[in-house]
Amino acid sequence: MSDFAVEPSSHMSVILDLTPAQWYLSSLPKNEYPLSFRSFLSQTLAFLNSHLASKHENTLAVYGALPGKSVILYSSTDSSVGQDETVADANSYQPFKTVDSVVASQITDELDALGDSDEEAPCQLVGALTKALCHINRIMNPNFTTGASDAPQPTREPRIIILSVSPDLSTSYIPIMNSIFSAQKLKVTIDVCKIFGPDAVFLQQAAHLTGGSYIYLERRDAYLQHLMMTFLSPRSVRGILAVPTQEKIDFRAACFCHKTIVDIGFVCSVCLSIFCQPVPVCSTCRTKFPMKTLQRLNASRPSFPPQPVVRSMSAARTPTTSTPPGTRTPSVSNHHADRTTSISSSASAKVNGSSSVAVGNGMTP
């Protein structure tokens, strides 16, 4: 363990996806491994505590992505966030207790404040992500313009962990990509744990482009184990541990016109805007395209309209899957079945096609 003594302290920002509707679906008993929000939260808090416990200087920030808004729930570097009112308890380690009580009470407050109409709003993952980046930017570059003399020492190896249950929000394609590139500039690793729902294309790209891990949680009863094995170690240690790596990376993009996720797009040569069908005028830069091109492209297009799911159904993309693509949903999750994770637990070893079909059923209530 002496090697670990010289490891620099690390900063971790955790983004919790707090979409009530998705958590309800996740907790339904018809899922093979139902995971309720309560159980998710207690396992996550255990993980956060182990991050704080692994090194005294480690710092932590917790964000919540709610429908229509994003909030910071806890920050160990700012005393102003989440004031702790709990009395010291001789039987518990105070930093753990602070995190647990502040995060839990903040989540309760935020969820109570949500009105019925708010629940329809899309999850503000982008807001939480950009706030986490702003925060990391500040603690990485303690600047005298903020006037804080007690600014914390710059931490090394900052990372962001996204615990996601919502599907991809194609309207946020551009902000998410911009966030990914700024994370690259700040040398921030983005890890993604997809707890429920279909694979998130943009988050796959985020993890790939920033050198993080993307985990699709198949055995949700082993959630805490996945967290500990994959995400607890900072980047410098991950080379020694065999953390699970991403299998396929889907490089699809969202078109600017209908916000659908496309695998073949039509791109304006002037501004590189992406459209899902040939358009006569670029809506971004107002460039008119030649008639000849439009006719040529329309002629060469396949006759059926672009469907984002069509591609993941094609058998060629999942060469190891023996199951022929049947209905749409099971085949989407079929390619999670052959995902290889190097966690040597029984959890990932015994997964077969049937379990993922059940996951697929769970997301189409």
Partner: protein
């Protein structure tokens, strides 16, 4: 394709080096470039020639205030960046993003001069490597070729390539590039021109010359070559290391490029790196709203799936080799080794979508934040909406255009307050407001 020369210039005079001035008087400003601003270049008045102005070092411009603090100087630099952002149009820029560039390196004996350390030649190679990396970062779909000028002829050093590693490899070995003889501008430009003649119309064609000599040995009339370049819409920019040559300035002026004479190492790098951001195109609206731009086109592109190195091996269509990792064409599912490329089976252009996305922040810039001048009556937030840093409780005495005495900067859309660090970070790096996601 029409390229406007003025638009590459900074709007602020104080960032302008006299040498690159030329006819660029109608500069329209451009997106902020953090790198330049961070250097905080000093004020250099408009002068005909760069070497007549003294190059102000960044540490000379920083002045301590009466209390011996650097606070005011830092605030001033921040405010200057903020003002520049306010002046820049917030509407979408039109830029030539598919760029083709030939880097013309002077490999004549004059490059062995030691007025730049260690030699002009070594410095040129070093900066060229950095230039290539940064250029591909900002112009993801561009291509660079390298041509050398040595012993009176043009020499093809690297073919046009969209892979930065190929270009770097071409200029990696300094022994193969050992300078010799006299340079020939005409021969080299003709060679660069011929290698760009096949390019599609919707891409830009540019030549960037790093020129250390004061002479050129040409077989014919270089003005004929210049006319041919104008006809082919090739934009020539020159970074001179010795002094201004009339023909060099003329080439730049007539083709809409930039001309600069480097005074020292740092300045050499600055004027070279000013050529990296994509040049803005003359807006189509100038010709009466949405006029058709003959060079614009709609391209069909495919976004692939990347296979990891643990996937079962299969033959790739490009080399017919058995490989595990690779990319799958979304249309025909052929396995390709590398992107961007054209699919060998169905001919679809395959690009990785993050490559495209890297330039999106040019298209949708964040609206500048307003400096909050006085405390509003409604209860203001105690912390920055981005980084949660507490705002100062009392207004500072510091004031100036674009500086908020309260340290608050308000997003005009979501009306959230941000600290000055986040203001800079959001506009220069993230390009997305944490409050409204726009």
């Amino acid at each position: 394709m029409e390229v406007e020369s003025g638009s590459d210039d900074f709007i602020d005079d104080d960032d302008d080096f006299g040498g690159s001035r030329g006819k660029n008087v109608k500069g329209k400003g451009k997106a902020i470039d953090r790198r330049k601003k961070d250097k905080g270049k000093g004020k250099i008045n408009e002068q005909a020639y760069a070497w007549e102005a003294s190059y102000t070092r960044s540490w000379d411009t920083v002045q301590e205030d009466e209390a011996g603090s650097l606070q005011s100087a830092v605030d001033d630099l921040l405010a200057r960046g903020r003002r520049r952002r306010l002046l820049a149009p917030s509407s979408a820029f039109r830029r030539t993003i598919i760029r083709h560039l030939i880097l013309l390196l002077d490999l004549s004996a004059s490059m062995m001069d030691r007025d730049m350390r260690p030699t002009r030649f070594d410095l040129m190679l070093e900066y060229s490597r950095e230039f290539v990396l940064e250029w591909f970062d900002q112009n993801p779909l561009g291509q660079i070729g390298v041509v050398g000028m040595r012993a009176g002829v043009g020499e093809r050093i690297g073919e046009m390539s969209s892979n930065p590693q190929d270009v770097l490899k071409a200029i990696a070995d300094r022994h193969k590039l050992e300078p010799a003889g006299e340079p020939s501008l005409q021969n080299a430009i003709e060679m660069a021109r011929s290698s760009m003649s096949h390019l599609p119309t919707h891409s830009s064609r540019e030549i960037t010359i790093i020129f250390g000599s004061l002479t050129t040995v040409d077989p014919g009339n270089i003005h004929d070559t210049l006319d041919a370049c104008i006809k082919d819409k090739i934009r020539i920019s020159v970074v001179a290391l010795a002094a201004e040559m009339k023909i060099c300035r003329e080439m730049c002026d007539k083709t809409g490029g930039q001309f600069g004479v480097a005074i020292n190492d740092g300045h050499f790098k600055d004027i070279l790196f000013e050529l990296i951001p994509p040049p803005t195109q003359r807006a189509a609206s100038k010709a009466g709203g949405g006029a058709s731009n003959p060079s614009a086109d709609l391209m069909m592109m495919g976004f692939p799936t990347r296979l990891p190195d643990t996937s079962p091996p299969a033959l790739c269509v490009c080399h017919s080799e058995l490989k595990s990792e690779g990319f799958l064409c979304p249309r025909c599912s052929a396995k390709l080794c590398d992107v961007p490329t054209d699919c060998d089976i169905c001919g679809l252009m395959i690009v990785s979508s993050p490559h495209l996305a890297r330039s999106f922040h040019h298209l949708f810039p964040v609206k500048p934040y307003d400096a909050v001048m006085e405390a509003s009556l409604s209860s203001p937030s105690a912390n920055c909406h981005g980084c949660e840093a507490p705002f100062p409780k009392t207004a500072s005495a510091m004031s100036g255009e674009g500086i908020s005495p309260l340290g608050r900067y308000k997003c005009p859309i979501c009306l959230n307050d941000f600290c000055s660090d986040c203001d800079v970070f959001v506009h220069d790096v993230v390009h997305c407001c944490p409050g409204c996601g726009k």
